[in-house]
């Protein structure tokens, strides 16, 4: 999606290994979010950021950490991947002046499989 990219798009990893997903935006938006999408659960908030080095936990943050050292990058790390973290991960951004009235622009997602 325009202005926001996620990498990688697909990843298969082994249980117990650390994994880092990257979200990069070119919109200079202040707010960035990581969600996971699972059937029957919709999207659940993992972590979010309201500025460089300012982050907070969402409803399903256990086993995940984040970092934001630059406005444009928001990294999600699975410290020791488990099979329950197999999911599709979406990054989103929001900010003033984007015409969405405090809504989000989403990335295309990362499909992560933990084997």
């Amino acid at each position: 999606d325009a202005g926001i990219t996620q990498s990688p798009r697909h990843k298969v990893t082994e249980t117990g290994t650390p994994v880092t997903l990257r979200c990069h935006q070119t919109e200079n938006h202040r707010y960035m979010y990581w969600y996971r999408q699972d059937p029957g659960h919709g999207l659940r908030l993992i972590h979010y950021s309201y500025g460089v080095k300012d982050t907070d936990k969402g409803e399903v943050s256990d086993g995940y950490s984040v970092s934001r050292s630059k406005t444009e990058d928001f990294l999600l790390t699975l410290e020791s991947a488990t099979s329950s973290q197999t999911s599709v991960y979406f990054c989103a951004i929001s900010g003033s002046g984007d015409g969405l009235g405090f809504g989000y622009t989403f990335g295309s997602g990362t499909r992560l499989t933990v084997v």
Binding site: Y31, L43, F90, A92, F102, G103, F106
Partner: protein
């Protein structure tokens, strides 16, 4: 705490017929409400929002939604469904007068439009 309920996992409708996808919400104060659509293997796309003002909100692709404060509902509607409307639809909410920007999403409703 804020929450969203989408009571129907799937809605089936014939092409040309009107469609409704239901959403109810819960917030402590006033809501910002959103609808997003997800096509297969894609990210979520913004459809429409209610921030303030007219209770009937018009959005992309001919969709509209009606905010009903007394029933805490924000149902998505379209007068005449197209096969191309078949997708997964998410309702989302956040509370208006807090500093927390994160949206809470419903579990999603799959819309199937039969030709």
């Amino acid at each position: 705490a804020q929450s969203v309920a989408q009571p129907e996992d799937q809605v089936n409708v014939a092409e040309g017929n009107p469609l409704t996808v239901k959403c109810t919400y819960s917030v402590s104060g006033n809501p910002y409400l959103f609808w997003y659509v997800q096509y297969p293997n894609r990210g979520l796309q913004f459809l429409l929002k209610y921030i303030t003002g007219d209770n009937l909100v018009k959005g992309s692709y001919g969709f509209e939604a009606e905010f009903n404060k007394s029933q805490t509902s924000f149902h998505l509607k379209k007068p005449s469904a197209l096969v191309s409307d078949s997708a997964l639809y998410f309702c989302a909410v956040r509370e208006k007068d807090t500093g927390r920007r994160a949206l809470t999403f419903g579990s999603g409703t799959r819309l199937q439009v039969q030709p």
